[in-house]
């Protein structure tokens, strides 16, 4: 039992890291990683939603009819995302402004939907919780790493602590182009380390893309 628990939890961190290996959830990864702090908080928010939705969907998995499972998952996920958003607006307004529309966009973050469909729907709540926690942690680590690199190279600071002063840093790194650049370089690095070519999956990892094959005439 303990062995499997550890396995379900740890796979999301390295072997099946959602960002670098599964290539999911690119939108927030690129958009929000301008500073390490923003990245970390986004990772945290996504992890919270992921864990909660995984658990709930797992609990309800026998009760949700096949036909409406995707809309049902989306509804549950959207619910948790909205709760996180409201709580942020009330108690962490600066963070809410910093992350902007990417908070509600957690709803369509492929990672969460993919885990719901691929795992939570087929496993018990405990493993689903671990899966969510592991994947969330993997995502958080990945996006924070990118954030640290971008913030440091782009403005000489990390988590707000100014490390390099007086030397102008190439601000391209905190701009959109920099996001692509850093992610591309990291992917190449990972590819070199794992000796595997990184494939762009045609987003078929995200279960949404399977919609037309299933019947869905109801909403």
């Amino acid at each position: 039992m303990k062995n499997r628990s550890l396995q379900e939890f740890s796979k999301g961190i390295l072997k099946e890291n959602p960002t670098f290996i599964l290539v999911l959830g690119m939108c927030p990864t690129l958009a929000v990683s301008t500073t390490a702090e923003n990245s970390f908080m986004m990772g945290l928010a996504a992890t919270i939603v992921l864990v909660l939705s995984n658990v709930i969907i797992s609990l309800l998995r026998k009760l949700i009819p096949e036909k409406v499972r995707i809309p049902a998952y989306i509804t549950v996920i959207a619910g948790f995302v909205t709760i996180v958003q409201l709580l942020m607006k009330a108690y962490l307004p600066e963070l809410n402004k910093a992350l902007g529309i990417y908070i509600p966009l957690i709803v369509v973050n492929c990672i969460i939907l993919a885990r719901a469909e691929a795992f939570a729907a087929k496993n018990n709540p405990w493993y689903s919780l671990l899966d969510g926690l592991g994947m969330g942690l993997g995502f958080t680590l990945a996006i924070t790493l990118i954030g640290i690199i971008r913030e440091f190279l782009g403005s000489g600071a990390v988590f707000g602590l100014q490390i390099i002063k007086n030397i102008p840093m190439p601000s391209v790194f905190v701009m959109p182009a920099g996001a692509f650049l850093v992610l591309g370089m990291l992917m190449a690095l990972i590819s070199a380390l794992t000796h595997k070519k990184t494939e762009i999956k045609d987003c078929s990892e995200c279960p949404m893309q399977c919609l037309p094959k299933k019947e869905k005439g109801d909403n």
Partner: protein, 197 residues
């Protein structure tokens, strides 16, 4: 149409297509962007589908927001309502297309499910509300966002088709070189910022 409306339309459309390009500046729609831009044909098909869906999504969510959510103080349900409304509508359109215009379905329809619950579509809806656009402005905004996506994807696909024929360093093959290319494309679009001063 008076001069002011015209100016606003130009501002919204050019602003969204070039200055705040949805893919290259706002990172909305990255998944389909990276996934489909390998071939020019699929890029165009996807791009057109995106324009179509974004325009409809903008209009439909604007109406939902204006007549259902706001009058009843239900703004907090925006995220949930928008996504369900968009998914439902696109599903309907897809069924309609399948039965009534099969050739159109073959070119565009197959991309529809790929983009329904994508960052880009929900993003367009939410941003449109945030910018407080009325119905016409929303529609233009949605269409422009889609055109911007089409533009970025087509340029990107063109580059990648040639890139594939070249000698790319081993570990950069595939996704890494694609991302780096996107970086340069994004920098190029950066030049558009400040056009309107």
């Amino acid at each position: 149409m008076n001069g002011d409306t015209f100016k606003l339309i130009i501002y919204i459309s050019f602003g969204t297509i070039l200055m705040n390009n949805f893919v290259l500046t706002n990172f909305l729609g990255i998944c389909p962007f990276l996934g489909v831009s390998k071939k020019l044909n699929s890029a165009v098909g996807m791009g057109l589908a995106v324009i179509f869906v974004m325009t409809i999504a903008s209009i439909v969510t604007n109406l939902t927001n204006r007549y259902l959510l706001v009058p009843n103080g239900l703004e907090y349900l925006q995220t949930l309502a928008f996504i369900l409304v968009i998914a439902g509508f696109v599903q309907l359109i897809e069924l309609f297309m399948k039965k009534v215009t099969p050739p159109l379905y073959k070119t565009l329809g197959i991309y529809l499910p790929l983009i329904t619950t994508n960052c880009a579509i929900l993003g367009v809806a939410l941003l449109s509300v945030q910018n407080e656009y009325n119905l016409w402005q929303s529609a233009i905004y949605g269409a422009s966002a889609g055109i911007g996506f089409l533009l970025a994807t087509v340029i990107f696909a063109g580059i990648r088709e040639r890139l594939d024929l070249n000698d790319v360093p081993k570990y950069f093959k595939g996704l890494p070189i694609a991302l780096i290319t996107a970086a340069f494309l994004s920098m190029a679009f950066l030049g558009f910022k400040g056009i309107f001063g």
